[in-house]
């Protein structure tokens, strides 16, 4: 899932400094699962904003809500429309996709991100996530025993280890295992070492922003 972390309060408070009625808009999708932008975090952030403003003797009104999926217009549009003119800024606790959906749907509405979106990650344990996928659009995990060298190797090398690792740990930092050594052991276990001999094809890095179009799903636009 998409993993995100709340921005420092200083930065958030500066963003919304001169607004009186603030809608703190959480998302029940990925940012709830990674415990950074769900309903509970929405309440924490809005309480902190009220406490800060009260401390400075400045007026504020906070509104709390959470969309089901902030990256889906059908989920965002109706909610914001019936909250219209009860707020003058949206402080979004969704990932980047959510913030942009709100901005796109309500172009003259000020929208601020409360989180920094980090990566598409996997959960190690409760409260710990590591980056797994850079969405390069050309997946080679089948050939690397399920370990992605693009994200798990510090230098993102595609054609084998750089040789700088010692005792299986990357030269960049002691607690990072060397991805390519892990790939080697994985392939050995599955006796697929021959993949290492194959000529690595050149990766066509995607041009941003990528787009996926599924003609089989698109609704015919009523002309």
């Amino acid at each position: 899932m998409i993993v995100a972390e709340r921005k420092p309060m200083e930065e958030i408070l500066a963003e919304i400094e001169d607004f009186q009625k603030i809608l703190v808009l959480g998302c029940k999708g990925c940012t709830t699962v990674c415990c950074s932008g769900g309903p509970k975090e929405v309440e924490t952030l809005s309480t902190l904003i009220r406490m800060d403003r009260k401390q400075k003797g400045k007026e504020v009104e906070t509104l709390e809500a959470s969309t089901e999926l902030q990256c889906e217009p059908e989920s965002v549009k109706p909610m914001l429309e019936n909250l219209a003119n009860q707020y003058d800024v949206v402080l979004s606790m969704a990932c980047g996709a959510g913030v942009q959906t709100v901005a796109k749907l309500f172009p003259d509405q000020r929208v601020f991100p409360a989180l920094n979106t980090n990566f598409t990650g996997m959960a190690e344990e409760h409260g710990v996530w590591t980056e797994a996928c850079l969405a390069c659009g050309d997946c080679i995990l089948g050939k690397t025993a399920g370990i992605c060298p693009v994200t798990r190797c510090a230098k993102g090398l595609l054609n084998g280890a750089c040789g700088g690792a010692s005792e299986g740990k990357c030269e960049v930092s002691k607690d990072r295992p060397c991805a390519w050594q892990e790939i080697y052991h994985g392939l050995k276990r599955l006796n697929l070492l021959h993949y290492l001999k194959e000529k690595p094809q050149v990766k066509a890095w995607p041009i941003h922003p990528g787009k996926v179009v599924r003609e089989d799903l698109r609704q015919e636009k009523a002309t």
Partner: protein, 553 residues
Amino acid sequence: METELRTGVFICHCGINISGVLDIEDLCEYARTLPGVVTVQANLFTCAETGTSEIKAAVKEHDLNRVVVAACTPRTHEPIFRASCQEAGINPYFFEMVNIREHCSWVHRHDKEGAQAKARDLIRMGVAKALFLEPLETFRSKVEPKALVIGAGIAGMTSALAIANQGFEVILLEKEVEMGGLLRHLHKVAPSDMTAAELIGEKIAAIEKDKRIQCFTSAALEEVTGYVGNYAVRFSCGDESYSDKVGVIIVATGGASLKPVDLYNYDGEHVITQSELEIKLKDGNIGAKSIVMVQCVGARIPERNYCSRICCMVGIKNSLHIKEIVKDAKIFVLFRDIQAYGVENEALFFKAKEAGVRFIRYSLESPPVVEDGKVKIYHAGMGKEISLPADLVVLSTPIVAHDDAESISRILKVPIDEHKFFLEAHAKLSPLDFATSGIYLCGNAHYPATVREATYQALGAASRASIVLSHDTVERVGTVAAVKEELCSSCFACVKVCPYQVPHMNERGKAEIEPMQCQGCGICVAECPAEAIKFAYVSDEQITAACEALYAA
């Protein structure tokens, strides 16, 4: 919210324990001004007969649906007032208690004014919280009047027979081909002089005679789900698989005696273990004149730092038995501390000394050295090393947990300690229960025990288990958490943080908490990022109401 909220506040003098410091009249006056309060009464002793009948009368007269009592600690008196609310016809959980004795009058005697202000605040908070109290029902679920006993050693067999004697059906599982556990390898059982075979034979005969006990040997437990009174168990016996429903489970899986691999150059011939000695005792020939026993072999050492309790008595029993067979045998027992605790064990220890068995103490730092034909030991009393003739060396090794202890603990979701013995609910006062209700333990599975101790632990576990079996329903008060599925984001936070592994994802992909298993701590409620878990007993609304009532501007 149902009809209009009508709260009754009852403030207690408690003799002069409260009224000696606090002005009760002022508190009553103040309580009348609080939202939702329709009647306020003070009495000398609210917990006494007079007090509780006044509450019941007030509930009827003023048609109250919330009761707040400001008196002593709820830890001792809450049940009394909940019962009065129930008798008066309102849900016992529409009751809030405010502690103005232990937390106020008794501890702020020197600052009456501060104490009075605090008492007012506490009553305001209690009344504010009372408005958000929710009715809790007790869950009742049918009890399957049948027990599952895992392990058919002396402990398992004894508890199976005891439960059957009280009229309940028992499923008895044994992973070996035959029943009897460790006793199958023993010759005699001290001090009753009965042979182990006779003892097991007696129990096995009784079990085979008892139609209420279904016994399965070379059986393996596969899966257990459910909760107290209602466990679904699946086990295999040979190649057939069975599944059944039971109300309680008793873990009597016993333990194994440690094989002292490369300790004191153990070779199974000249240097043997006590169990190997038992076989020699059974055929009545020892084939040795001078025998040296070494105690604490592989026990009370850093990697296994527990005393296995029974090996001293096994050594003493066997030394006496050797003396019976070989009159002039010279026996030395090298020990660190003889665990002959109590009356019987000390008497047997004395009898061994009288029979000429010599006991020499050694310390962990200077252990005996076993060579062929002799054992060298530093004798503290003589201050020098001596050498003892030994045509046979017997090593007393500790009882250790079976290697399948871990898998059973996973199947039953019950904890094991660092030595893989099963962990009881409380070391002193509930040694036979697990923290999870409905599952009990006894014998070596809990910790090494003599035959006498394993027997009374097994009877004890049977009694604990029969408490559940003797009622046709088991009750659980509704102070448990419950998931509102429409709010759940299926993030597994509750599954990961629950110390009792109760929440799980149901077939609709949403979190679900089995009310009977939930212990009511609220850890998942506070952890849930979607605020999807409701806890009616102490809800967020109640805590918020109490916070909002903290400060009267």
